[in-house]
């Protein structure tokens, strides 16, 4: 197990689309352990994605259980995660291990439905909301070469903009 160096924007590897994991072996579990060590070594990080350490594989870890009073699923290791549906909108401040010394307000779906595999290849589907849903969307973006910088909204526009009408549950186009 090891703390890996975190890639920092504008490293071009952060912009690449990661490949699905096809082999659920000891090598995958070693990488997940290293990712977790790297996350834990980064103060306040509630998530990390494999491409942030230069491994262009569709793996994320999210754990928001340290936040008081929010709904969560504990420590999540998700392999080949997909967002099946998104609902609502919520804005919140985000920062990123790969974008030091900058935070910005980002709009995310308030609730999402996900499907993912675990490190042994087993599949699960679950719903996430609020802060956990935000963390998951932030990490899943990394798998598609997207950073929160791509989704920044300005605070001033935020002040004036009306809330959108609640829409139906959308289907991911992927």
């Amino acid at each position: 197990m090891a703390v890996l160096p975190v890639l920092v924007y504008p490293d071009p590897r952060l912009r690449r689309v990661s490949a699905p994991v096809t082999t659920f072996d000891a090598g995958l579990r070693r990488l997940v352990a290293d990712l977790e060590d790297t996350r834990l070594a980064s103060p306040g990080a509630v998530g990390i994605a494999a491409p942030q350490v230069g491994e262009l594989k569709r793996i994320v870890i999210v754990d928001v259980s340290g936040r008081a009073g929010i709904a969560h699923h504990g420590h999540l290791v998700l392999v080949n995660p997909e967002i099946l549906a998104r609902e609502g909108e919520a804005r919140g401040r985000e920062g990123c291990l790969s974008v030091p010394d900058y935070v910005g307000k980002v709009a995310r779906a308030a609730r999402i439905r996900l499907r993912a595999r675990d490190v042994h290849g087993g599949s699960r589907e679950f719903d996430a909301e609020g802060y956990e849903a935000r963390a998951l969307q932030h990490e899943l973006d990394h798998l598609d070469g997207l950073l929160f910088l791509d989704r920044i909204i300005s605070p001033r526009r935020d002040l004036h903009r009306r809330e959108p009408e609640p829409g139906p549950v959308g289907k991911n186009s992927k």
């Binding site: 990390i48 919140g92 802060y131």
Partner: protein
């Protein structure tokens, strides 16, 4: 050896102000840092960190032609400044009410007394000419977080000011 300056610019708003200023500074060998530029009451206002090897007068001369072309008032001050010195806010305070004199003074005094350090403030007057409303959004830091501010701001509510305090939780992933 370079120095940081704060360039402040005010003038009637017209398209092209930022481009003209930025081009003049770039051609003059300056580097730009953090900035706030916003239209206030039909005026365009700029607060811009400028890094230059030259003096404040030299920076002023660089932008003077562009400023004159747009009838802008320009001011350059040497500042002690550094980048990568952000303080993260942990509380947002949203204020609104029928517009009247004194709202900012009352709210910010109560916040200062409670130890709130304002990091960002923007405000606007909306509504109609006959019935203007005042809206102010502040972000800042206070030891102890949002709970500390609630009792400090509660008395203001009886004066017709709506105040909402919410924690800012920055997600890092």
């Amino acid at each position: 050896m370079t120095h940081w300056y704060m360039l402040t610019v005010v003038g009637a708003d017209r398209p092209g102000i930022v481009a003209a200023l930025a081009a003049a500074l770039y051609r003059g060998g300056c580097n730009l840092g953090e900035a706030s530029m916003v239209r206030l009451g039909g005026n365009f206002t700029v607060m811009l960190m400028v890094e230059s090897p030259g003096s404040a007068d030299a920076v002023q001369r660089l932008v003077q032609t562009a400023a004159d072309g747009f009838a802008l008032r320009v001011h350059v001050d040497p500042i002690e400044a550094r980048l990568h010195a952000h303080t993260e806010p942990n509380v947002q305070v949203a204020v609104h009410g029928a517009d009247r004199a004194g709202i900012v003074a009352e709210v910010t005094q109560a916040l200062a007394d409670a130890g709130f350090h304002i990091l960002d403030l923007n405000s606007d007057v909306g509504g109609t000419r006959e019935r203007p409303i005042y809206v102010m959004l502040l972000e800042g830091h206070v030891a102890g977080g949002a709970a500390v501010l609630e009792p400090a701001l509660a008395p203001l509510r009886s004066t017709g000011i709506e105040v909402r305090v919410s924690p800012i939780d920055t997600l890092v992933g």
